[in-house]
Each structure stands twice: as structure tokens, then as C-alpha cells.
Symmetry: C2
DNA sequence: CCGTTTAGCTTACAACTGTTCGCTCATTCT
DNA sequence: AGAATGAGCGAACAGTTGTAAGCTAAACGG
């Protein structure tokens, strides 16, 4: 086995060890370099041959998580073409991602408001891809000015993300309810934005 | 000074020390018993005379934070009566809370998806008060069935909370924009829910 | 006024943490 | 073939952590 090949292999072992240690009651911040190294099957000091820092490893994990998110978006688009219902299909796809890769989602969810500014902005950047893509879609589909499309997309992503977070602590029997509740919320938003977008000044007592 | 009085006093010193050590780059999980005790001016072991655990202290902090939230709600109601615009006044009041008590808000924000199930459900409970109260208001104001009022309230609280989180990392010059963006989003929701609530079945391609 | 209670202290320990240093030894380059 | 590189290791160090045991002294209750 070539040297570079072997190096890449233990690098992956480290990354996988880190991912696998994340759980409902263990965040990235509570991982220790030594524990990760132990599970990766290397000596603690060998860790430094691959990452300068735990932070550097963390940023790598966030990048990989973001990658999975983008793959998810592509997958959602395919399903939409065959299925029709944009909102429901998107929400269902996202919920499958959350329940199937809960540790990955948890990483994004926690580090989005975590203690490292670098992590926070890395996560924010990944989510922005989501928002930007959705906003572009809305701008094409509806006849909405740029700024409103973006605000609408942000609200939608926020609601879907939040539902994912709820699902992490809810029993599987609740998934269907959570999904359809979110679908309803997104439809409200879409409908409200479409008919209300042109007259954003006070209307009614709200 | 009475004994009970003195005990209560150092108990508060502990709580205050903990709150004051929270910051953008220090979460509750990264506080150490010793550090807290040091800032409170007591020996590490004396901590146990007041709390069995760091977890017990944490739950106390979450309770206090929830109390502040409820006070905030009362304050918002007063301002609404004098001001009229429900949504804008509510969002502005909340943003003042976030910027004025950022450590308290950060605690709720982080522990909502933190590593302790007890913390998570404690925070969720506090937020439910928010949602329930808003839902009741919506049910009275609009002519909306229970379930929809609740879903609407949840979406609104989610969006406002998320905006608070954004504000924590944004420069103060962005506050006005964040606020009005959120106001717009909430109005969309309200409008969409009002006109769309009666026909939740597929409408349009979304 | 004397015995009990108890907040707070000091000392101590065992378990971990991240990181430095120097070594081995298989792969790579010349 | 011979020199250089670099991934991985073991030992060691200086910090920190939570927590246990036992003491002191001041407030308390009878």
C-alpha cells in the first residue's frame, strides 16, 4: 500500500471515529483528542500527523456534513420531478436525512450556535447554500423580487431545520405529525408571501 | 446575619458567577465547578453545600432564564396595548431581550439542543409557555381552530428565536434589518394561515 | 448556657486532558 | 544502493478536573 494511500486511510479512520462518537449526549466539544485517537486505532500523538488541532478536525466534519446536505438537495430535486408536490417532498426528504444521519445533523444543529466562531460561520455558510438555492427556485417559480424570495427561503429553511431538531427528541411515531405540521407552515408562508408581498404595510391589527 | 440568609447569599453568588462566565465562546457545558466556585469566592468543595451537581445548577439557570422570558411576555403585552402593532412590538421587545441579556438567551439557545436530555426538556418546557400563550391569543383574535393556532404560534416563535440567534453574531447595525425581515415573515404566516387555513389541501404546485 | 447543626475550609487523590520529545522503520526519492 | 522523508509509537510532563474526608467556628435550638 502506498504511503499517501495509507495516510488517507487513517485520516478517514479519525474522521469516522469522531462522527461515531457524536450522539445525543456527546457533542463535538465534549470529544477528546485521546478518545478519538483510541477509537481510530492510533496513538494520541499520531493525531497531529493529520490535524493540527481538534478544531481543524471539527471544521473538516462540518465540511463533510455540508457536503451531505448538498447531496440531499440534489436527491430532493430528483424526487420532486417525479412526484410533483414540492413542499411535501422536500420536507420528507429532509426528515429522512435527519433520522438517517442524526449524528451529522446534530453536529450542524449544535455547532450553529456553539462556542467556536469559526464553527458557527462554517455551519452558517453551509446553510446559506440551502437558502440561496431555494431562493432562486422561488424567484423563478413565483414573481417575487429578490429580497422577498430570500426572506421567504430563510423562513422556510429555519422551520424545516427546527422540525428536524424536534424529531431528534421525538419518538418515531411523531414523525408523520411533525412532517405534516411543517408542510402546513410552509404552505402558509408561500401563500402569505404570494398574496401579501405586494402590500407589506400594515394590514389588519397584526 | 442569619444563617439561612447567608446561605441564600452565596447561593446567589454561585448562580451569578455561572451566568457571568457564559459568553459567546463559553457554554454551560464548558464551565467547571472549580472555576464557578472560584468566581463565587468559595472553596470548590463548598459548592456541594448548595448544589448536588453542576447539572442541578444548570437546571436552576434554565429556570431563571425561563422566568425572565415570562417577564418579557408581560412587558410585551403592556407595550402592545399602548402601541397597537402586535407583531412589530413583539419582535422588537424580544430583540431587546436578546441584546440586553445575551448570555441568558444563549443559554436557552444552546441547551435547547445540548447534550443533556434534562436540559433540553427544561428549555422546551419554557418555550412552550411562549407558544401556548401566543396560540391562545391567535385563537381569540382570529377564528382559527385550536390545532392551527398552535402550529402558527410554533412557527412564529421558531422564527423569532432564530432571528435572536442571528442577532448574536451580527453587528448592531444589522438589528433593524433582522427585525423588519422577521416582521415580514410573521405577517406572511399570519396572512397565509388566515386565508389558507380553511383549505389545507393542495393548491398550486407547491 | 451548652450541645447540635452546618457553611465553609484545607488537604488529598485518582483520573483525565493536550502536547513535547525522541525514536523506529517502512516507503520514497535520487 | 543509499540517503531522506514522514507516519506512528511510547514515555513523560504539567495542568486541570470532580470529589472524598475531616476539621473549624459561628449560628442555632433547647
Amino acid at each position: 500500500m502506498s504511503r499517501a494511500e495509507q495516510k488517507e486511510r487513517t485520516r478517514r479512520a479519525i474522521i469516522n471515529a469522531a462522527f461515531s462518537q457524536l450522539s445525543a449526549d456527546k457533542s463535538f466539544a465534549s470529544l477528546s483528542l485521546r478518545e478519538v485517537a483510541r477509537e481510530a486505532g492510533i496513538a494520541p500523538t499520531s493525531f497531529y500527523r493529520h490535524f493540527a488541532d481538534m478544531d481543524e478536525l471539527g471544521l473538516t466534519l462540518v465540511d463533510e456534513a455540508g457536503l451531505m446536505l448538498r447531496q440531499l438537495m440534489r436527491q430532493a430535486r430528483q424526487r420532486i420531478e417525479k412526484n410533483g408536490s414540492v413542499i411535501r417532498t422536500s420536507v420528507e426528504t429532509f426528515m429522512e436525512f435527519v433520522t438517517g444521519n442524526s449524528n451529522v445533523f446534530r453536529l450542524l444543529l449544535r455547532e450553529r450556535s456553539g462556542t467556536s466562531a469559526a464553527f458557527r460561520s462554517a455551519v452558517a455558510r453551509e446553510i446559506q447554500h440551502f437558502v440561496a438555492e431555494l431562493a432562486e427556485y422561488l424567484r423563478k417559480e413565483t414573481i417575487c423580487p429578490d429580497e422577498l424570495a430570500r426572506a421567504q427561503a430563510e423562513a422556510m429553511v429555519t422551520l424545516v431545520f427546527h422540525t428536524g431538531a424536534d424529531a431528534l427528541d421525538a419518538p418515531a411515531s411523531q414523525y408523520a405529525y411533525l412532517t405534516s405540521r411543517t408542510v402546513t407552515q410552509l404552505r402558509w408562508l408561500a401563500h402569505g408571501a404570494a398574496s401579501y408581498g405586494r402590500k407589506p404595510k400594515e394590514q389588519g391589527s397584526l
